[in-house]
Amino acid sequence: MKTTRFLALVLAILFVLPLAAACGKSGQKTTLYVLNWGEYLDPDLIKEFEDQNPDIKINYTTTTSNEEMYTICATEGSKIDLLVPSDYMIERLIAEDLLAELDLSNIPNFEYVKQAASTCTFDPESKYSIPYLMGTLGIVYNTKLVDDPVDSWDILWDEKYAGKIMMYDSIRDSIAIALCKLGYDLNTADPEQLREAGELLKQQKSLVLAYGTDNIKYDMIGGNVALGVDYSGSATEAILENSDLAYVVPKEGSNIWVDSMVVLKSSQHKEAAERFINFLCDPEITARNSEYVGYTTPNSKAEEYVDPELLAADSYHISEDVIARCKYYKDLDADTLALWNSVWMEVKTATK
């Protein structure tokens, strides 16, 4: 009987505590529900913001993909106030009228990201979104294993490097690479262009060691893979760990992306959300955050606070000509996306 009573007690505590904790914390405070990518914000900054703004408590959760973010936020009854989706997902959220218009007068630090924000084709006037971090898609290569100059996507089809190439395991990125190599638009809806891209990726399959995501970085650090497609921030981390590595955004052009902070229309705490956005646009804060995450800050004044070692990496600083030859992804409509998906499925199910 003793054990039963003990168990009951444990159960009671376990049930009551989280509830009590939730109540205690949100007494008079505003709870701001923030949804971000994992490892995409220095956790110390949350504490710092809460100390500076004692009336706000941040409820921070994380996710893996834009699509998951969308499902969580666009589904009825969502509590999320602030989220940080990428360009094409913001385009969709705007089109579906899910975002609140921001009051820029509440975000004085906006002036530092203004310039970057104006290049955001999905929301050039920053009515709904404030840039958070950005990056490019490019090639990381090991200078000890690659003698040829790396400046074109073509090298990923070079038989010399068979079995030493890592491709990115994502529909959008892999097909975009093939499209760029062919000189087509990376947001194309043209079935013929997509078919050609698919053929190209199928040809490439026998040269590819594996399709990866964050593991590409580890393979590059390990030093046995010659070429890997990766995002710039991930590349920076690899370059800092292994000095033989270098990063390039090929001359044919590539994808540039920006993750921006947006507030949902359903949010009850828009003013608090704007305060948090303003906090994250502070040059010193964003520099610290950028160092923690490894991706580039769009903040024009932040560079002076960023660690010089990080600034020196080719992958960290995004130059004007890179911006000029890169494009944002656009939100593809359902039929186009289905077309892309069927091309990718053919590539994936093809025998090596």
């Binding site: 168990l7 444990v10 159960l11 376990l14 049930f15 505590l17 989280p18 509830l19 939730a22 529900y33 949804l35 990518w37 994992g38 490892e39 995409y40 956790p43 110390d44 949350i46 504490k47 409820n59 921070y60 959760t61 994380t62 996710t63 893996t64 993909s65 998951e68 499902t71 969580i72 936020c73 589904t75 009825e76 009854g77 969502s78 509590k79 999320i80 995501t213 964050d214 970085k217 580890y218 393979d219 650090i221 390990g222 921030g233 991930s234 981390e237 760990e241 292994n242 995450v293 490894g294």
Partner: protein, 272 residues
Amino acid sequence: MTKFWNFCKRFYLVILLIFIYLPILMLMIFSFNDGKSMTKWSGFTFDWYKKLFTNPLILESIWVTLSIAVVSSLVATVVGTLAAIGINDYKKWQKNLILSVTQIPMMNADIVTGISLLLFFIFTKIPRGYVTMLISHTVFNIPYVIFSVMPRLKGMDENLYEAALDMGATPGYAVRKVIIPQLMPGIVSGFIMAFTMSFDDFVISFFSSQGVISNLSIYIYSMAKVGINPEINALSTIMFLCVITLLIIINVRAERQAVRSGRRPTKPKKAR
């Protein structure tokens, strides 16, 4: 010959244990690595451990994970064990039907279960958060308990239970005193399995909490885009050492008690 045979058996178990523990060891070693990668050793550091204790996100998600795992697997164990006892008495077709439906949360892809539960919570207007995550975990935990307990019910001596009832025991009393003790190993393994499933679940937790709370798995899986933070390796190492220590203490105490009370550990019974 027997000696050699016994050695082989133990050798086999040891090899399997090494196979099981190799990655754990790897995680533990690299929780001290002065770098984020698990492929390159860049020097010894305690940094990840220090950072871990100041990371409010991790600390909060540990709490959510543990409390959900304990509560949902306890509820699942009670409901599931009773269900297993009861199901056995149904007609064969009814039993088969119930067991088939029971399998569904086990065999469905997590994403399907996750989305269907999200739809269900929207449909019934239950606000998403701790409670919905708890319910969802219990949903996929119960089958593991039922399928752990069922095998032990098979071929169990029914007469004992009937005898207890004939002698005036209430069904509840008879179940507690006659059936449950015989089922105990199955119940324990069901609980362990349920706890493990709950501890490790990502997809269903993610959809059923809809961004309101986060457990460790959500935290870990969502790092996959940017990279695994070694603080998590440090945390795993600490948790693992805690569990192992607990296990050792419990067993040493039990062993001592057994010795003190003169009860020898059970040996194979001789045929009567």
